[in-house]
C-alpha cells in the first residue's frame, strides 16, 4: 500500500488551517467562528495523520484521537457559552460582546 504523499497531505492541511484561520478572523457570527476553529483543529489532526502515515507510526493517529476528544469537549463548553451570550445579548454578533474594554 502506497503511503500518502506527505507534501500533498501537509499542503491540504495547511490550506484548511489557513481557511479556518481567515474565517475566524473575518466572521462575526460566533457559531461560525466556532465552526472555523473546528476546521483548524481538523487541519492540525490531518497533519498528524499524514505524518504518522509517512513514518508508519501510530502516534499520529493517537494524537488525532486526542484532538477529536478535545474538540468535543471544547464544543460542548463553547456552545454553552454561545447560548449564554445569546441569552444575555439577544444576538450572536461577537462585536456586541465588548463590554470588557479598558
Amino acid at each position: 500500500m502506497n503511503a500518502l504523499p506527505i507534501d500533498m497531505g501537509l499542503l491540504l492541511a495547511g490550506v484548511l488551517f489557513t481557511l479556518g484561520l481567515i474565517s475566524v478572523l473575518i466572521r462575526r457570527n460566533i457559531i461560525f467562528m466556532l465552526i472555523s476553529v473546528e476546521i483548524m483543529l481538523n487541519a492540525a489532526g490531518l497533519a498528524f495523520i499524514v505524518a504518522g502515515s509517512r513514518w508508519a507510526q501510530a502516534d499520529g493517529q493517537v494524537m488525532f484521537i486526542f484532538i477529536l476528544t478535545m474538540a468535543a469537549a471544547e464544543v460542548s463548553v463553547g456552545l454553552a457559552l454561545i447560548l449564554q451570550i445569546y441569552h444575555q445579548l439577544k444576538t450572536l454578533d461577537s462585536d456586541a460582546a465588548d463590554k470588557m474594554n479598558g
Binding site: 478572523l25 462575526r28 461577537s94 462585536d95 460582546a97 465588548d98 463590554k99 470588557m100 474594554n101 479598558g102
Partner: protein
Amino acid sequence: MVSTDLLVSLVPLFPLLGFLLVALNTRKLTHGVTAFIACGSVLLSFIVSIALFSTLLGRPESDRSISLTLFNWIAAGDFSASLSFLVDPLSSLFLLIITGVGFLIHVYSIGYMHHDEGFNRFFSYLNLFVFFMLLLVMGANYLVMFVGWEGVGLCSYLLIGFWFKNQEYNNAANKAFIMNRIGDLGMLLGVILIFVHFGSIQYTEVFAKATSLDTTTLTLITMLLFVGAMGKSAQIPLYTWLPDAMAGPTPVSALIHAATMVTAGIYMVCRNNLLYALSPDTLNLIVIVGLATALFAATIAVAQNDIKKVLAYSTVSQLGLMFLALGLGAFTSGIFHMATHAFFKALLFLGAGSVIHALSGEQDIRNMGGLKKYLPVTFFTFFAGVLAISGIPPFAGFFSKDEILASAFAHNKIVWAVAVIASLLTAFYMFRLFFLTFFGKERASKHAMEHIHESPKSITIPLTVLAILSVVGGFMGVPEALGGSHWLSHYLHPVFAASHDLIRVHHLSHSTEYILMGTVVAFTIVMIIIAYVLYISKEQVPAAEGQPTGGVQRLLANKYYVDELYHAIVVKPLYWFSGIFDSIIERLGIDKLVNGLGESVVAGSRVTRLLQNGGIGYYIFMMVIGIVLILAYAVIR
C-alpha cells in the same frame, strides 16, 4: 545549703520577676501590692547578695570568684557569646550597693510617689532598672555588660520622662538618651575591636591575652571604652544630660543619677583595669577629663539655685574625682569613693526629695529657708550627708576623698591642687545649699507653708539608714596612717593585683599624709565658715531671675553657656543640614522620583489600556500576529 550557682542566678531573677509581675498587671494591682512586690523583689536580691558576699569572704583570697554560664546565647562562626555571670569582689560590692541602696530607695518611693497616678508604672520601671544594672555588673563578658549598659540607659530614659505630659521633661529624656548613644557608639566600637583582636569577649580570656597585644591597639580600645564611660558617667564633654535628667522623680535621681547607673563607667574601667593599666596614654586622658570635670562642675554648682541641679552638678563633680582616681591607677580609691558617694549622694537626693515633698513641689532654694524646725529628721540626715560629702572626719566622704587626694599628691602637685580646689568648692556649695534650705528666714510661699509637714515613715526610715551609712561607710577603708587596715583594698586586691604590678603607686609617708589631711580639712572648715558668714550671718539670698548680677556669677549660673554652645555647634548645624536635605534631596530628589514613577505608570496605563477594547476579533488578530512573529523569530534564529 543552696549552691552558689543558684544564688548567682537568683540575684537578677527577683527584680526581673518583680518587673514582669507589676508591668503585666499595671491596671489591676493596688498600690500596696505593687509596693510589696517591687520592694520585696529587691530585698530578696539584697539578701541573696549578702549571702554571696559572705560566701566570697569565706573563701581564700585567691579563690574569690564565682562564674556561672547559664546557656550559650549566640554562636556564629568564630563568634560565640554565652549568658554568663561573674561574681568576684568587685561585682559583689556593686551588687550590695545596687540592691541595698536600691531597696532603700524603693521603700522611699512608696511614700514619695503615693499620690501619683503612675505609681505601678514607676515601680515596674524601677525594678527593670535594677535588673539591668545587675546584669551590667554581673556579666562575665562584654556583651552581657553591654546589654545591661543599654538597658539602664533605656530605664533612665523612661524614668526621666516619667511625667511624659510635660514636653520639657520629654526633651530632657531625649537629651539623656541621645548623649548616651554618642558614648555607647564608642563603647560598642571598643567591644568590637576587642573581639577582633582577642577573638573572644569573655573577660577571663581577654585579660589572659592582654599583655600580648601592642600598646597602640590597647590604647585605642581603652579610649573607645572610655568614651562610653564619658557618656554614662557624665564626664566632659558628654555631661550636660545629667543636670537635665533631674526632670525625673527625685527617687530616680537618687537611684539612677547618683548612686548606681552613673557609676557604671567607673565599674567598666575597673573591670578592665588590666587593659587600662597597659595603656598609660588613656590613663592620662582619664586624669585630665576627670580633673576638668570635677572642677568645672563644682564651679557651676556654686551658682545654681535649684536644689536638685546643685546636687546633680555635685554628682558630676564627684564622678570626675572618681575618674581622677582611676586615671591615677588608684582603682581601689575610685571604688571606695563610689561606694561612699552612693550612700551620701543618695541620702542628699532623698533628703532634697523630702524637702520638695514637704513644700508641695518647690525646688528653688531661694524660696526655702528656715525648714530646720519643720523637718527635723530630714534636717539631721541631710546634715550628715552634707558633712560626708564635704569630707569632714570621720564621715564617709573624708576617707574616700582623702585617699584620692593623697594619690593625686603622690602623682603630681598640680593635679592635687586642682582636685583640692574642686573638693573645697564642694564643701562651699553644699553648705550654701544646706544653710539656704534649713536656716534663715522662711521664704517659702504662704501656700507651701500651710501644707508643710515632716515626711512619712517610708521616707524618713531610708533617710536614717542612709545617714548612718554615710557616717560609718568610711570605716571600710580607714587608711594605715590613721591606724586602720584598709579592709576594702585587701578585699578588692585580687581584682586589681595584676594592674598594681604594672602601675607604680607612690606611697606617701604617714607624716605627709597627716599634713595633707590637716590642710584639706582646715581649708574645708574655712569654706564652711565663709558659707556661714555669707548665708547665715549676712542672710544673703541669691538674686532672683532678671536682677543684675556680676559677670562671673552670670557665667556660672548659665553653666558656662555649654548648653548654648552645644546648641550652636551641634544642634543648629544638624537642623540646618536636615533643612537642606529636606528641601533638596527629600523634596526635589526622592519625592520627585517617587511621584514621577507613579505618574509615569498612570500615563503609561492610560495609553496601554486602549489595547483592551473588548473585541474578540481584535484579540484573535493580535494573537495570530504574535504567533506569526514568534514563529518567524524561531525560524530566522
